[in-house]
């Protein structure tokens, strides 16, 4: 009933899809973290306008389904703003901004969880706000934030599968493509699921280990 040979006959396509999935995961995680840090700092800095803008950013992305946002970025952005972006660029932008909203919340919570005494002590030594952030607050906050950041990154990897709907050739897209000429979707999608499990179960395990250390 099952014919697993289709998987071995198409490993090259699966490996290619895996490469794309990992590439988008890494790129959008890094971009998401950088943007997320900016948004987190905007939310807690001394300027009302930035607080408000940061909050709006987070609320927007946390309340729009990723699939809707992704399709909108690819199809509607060019129409509304007349800019033509490739599906790669649309995908990277959409996933990075979406991830940034969640990373921002983790970073903000981590920064705010530090007792006020730490920034008091830093400021009392004469440090500027930026120096206190860099030398005292962030090093401690990051340590506390490693587990939730790792968790969010795992979600980010799973979210890359949505890229297939805008025809970025990731793992899921390749699965659809292989099914279309082998007529063996059951076997193919099972295999793709196993690939994710093989990568994410150890990742989750490591994330939990890190949590234990803190």
């Amino acid at each position: 009933m099952f014919d697993w040979s289709v998987i071995f006959q198409n490993t090259d396509l699966i490996v290619k899809g895996l490469g794309i999935t990992i590439y988008y995961t890494v790129l959008t995680t890094v971009l998401g973290l950088v943007i997320g840090l900016v948004i987190a700092v905007a939310q807690i800095c001394g300027f009302r306008f930035f607080n408000w803008a940061g909050r709006l950013f987070v609320e927007f992305f946390r309340n729009v389904p990723l699939l809707v946002w992704l399709l909108w970025s690819y199809y509607a952005l060019p129409i509304f703003f007349g800019i033509n972006i490739s599906k790669q660029a649309a995908g990277i932008m959409a996933l990075s901004l979406y991830g940034a909203a969640y990373y921002a919340e983790i970073l903000r919570a981590g920064i705010q969880s530090l007792e006020r005494g730490q920034s008091d002590a830093a400021r009392a030594l004469g440090m500027s706000g930026a120096q206190a952030m860099r030398r005292i607050i962030l090093p401690q906050a990051f340590r506390r934030m490693i587990p939730p950041l790792a968790g969010q990154t795992i979600i980010q990897m799973k979210n890359t599968t949505l890229l297939s709907v805008i025809t970025v050739p990731d793992l899921l897209y390749q699965a659809g493509y292989i099914s279309s000429f082998t007529y063996r979707p059951m076997e193919i999608y099972t295999a793709i699921g196993v690939v994710f499990l093989l990568i994410l179960i150890p990742s989750n395990y490591i994330a939990r280990k890190l949590e234990g250390h803190n």
């Binding site: 002590a121 009392a124 030594l125 004469g126 030398r135 090093p139």
Partner: protein, 275 residues
């Protein structure tokens, strides 16, 4: 009511008309206070009288609403004439001036991700961009002075409360401040650890460091302070030599405050007289 010591020279810390409110609640009401070089001022008052707020205003960890604060002759905060609210001078200047005021907190606030030595070196390293070798030598000197040199490589969480507080004193001293602020430095300590911190502060006072100390240790105020300032509901209620203010109080507030802490003062006296 302010009877600041007149020593001819300009005061090191000069506060005029300082006011601060939180919402509707006015915590500091038009405070005038001068502190001269070498003075050790014990700042007393019941809970909620505004001691911490006053101390935090002196290095602008709290921004006052109104008034003028000078450190070493330069204004760090001033209400422009006619303006409703005061403003700190530029942020960069504030950071610079703040580094001339050392502060020791009730809960130590050591940096837990750094060793004891790194804690003490952190200010000069980041703020003054000082040469690491010079910084390290002087940091070790200060750690020696507070009796913590052999703990240089430890993490703060491995220390007792008294040891933490002595390290935090060394951390503040390593910036070579002109004045040191202490906010209840012994209140978070087990009773048997209070003595070692008070001793460290006494030796600092003997060396001529200018200090403003919020404390509930009346013994310390009597034996070490050169002057007692008593704060009551945001106003200076008494100001003068410790013996005058505490042993012959003219104010009912001070009287009841002293009565409440009399037992503690008696307990501290023998310890302090041994030194």
């Amino acid at each position: 009511m302010t009877s600041s010591q007149t020593s001819g020279t300009a005061p090191l810390v000069s506060i005029r008309g300082l006011s601060k409110s939180y919402g509707q609640h006015q915590v500091l009401k038009n405070i005038d206070l001068d502190v001269h070089e070498g003075e050790v001022v014990a700042l007393l008052g019941s809970s909620g009288s505004g001691k911490t707020t006053l101390l935090r205003c002196i290095n602008l960890l709290e921004i006052p609403d109104k008034g003028r604060i000078e450190i070493g002759g330069s204004a760090i905060f001033d209400t422009p004439a006619g303006a409703g609210r005061g403003a700190a001078v530029s942020q960069r200047q504030v950071n610079g001036l703040r580094s001339r005021v050392g502060m020791v907190f009730q809960h130590f606030n050591l940096f837990p991700h750094m060793s004891v030595l790194e804690n003490v070196m952190e200010g000069p390293r980041t703020v003054l961009k000082e040469n690491p070798a010079t910084n390290r030598d002087r940091a070790m000197d200060y750690l020696g002075k507070v009796g913590m040199a052999s703990f240089a490589d430890r993490r703060p969480d491995k220390l007792s409360g008294g040891q933490k507080q002595r390290v935090s004193i060394a951390r503040a001293l390593n910036m070579r401040p002109q004045v040191m602020l202490f906010d209840e430095p012994t209140s978070a300590l087990d009773p048997e650890l209070v003595g070692e911190v008070l001793e460290t502060m006494m030796s600092l006072a003997k060396e001529g460091m200018t200090m403003i100390v919020v404390t509930h240790e009346l013994g310390f105020a009597l034996e070490v302070a050169s002057r007692v300032v008593f704060l009551d509901q945001g106003c200076i209620d008494a100001d003068g030599p410790p013996a005058d203010v505490l042993l012959h109080p003219t104010s009912d507030r001070v009287q009841s405050f002293v009565n409440r802490f009399h037992a503690t003062a008696e307990l501290m006296r023998p310890l302090l007289q041994n030194n």
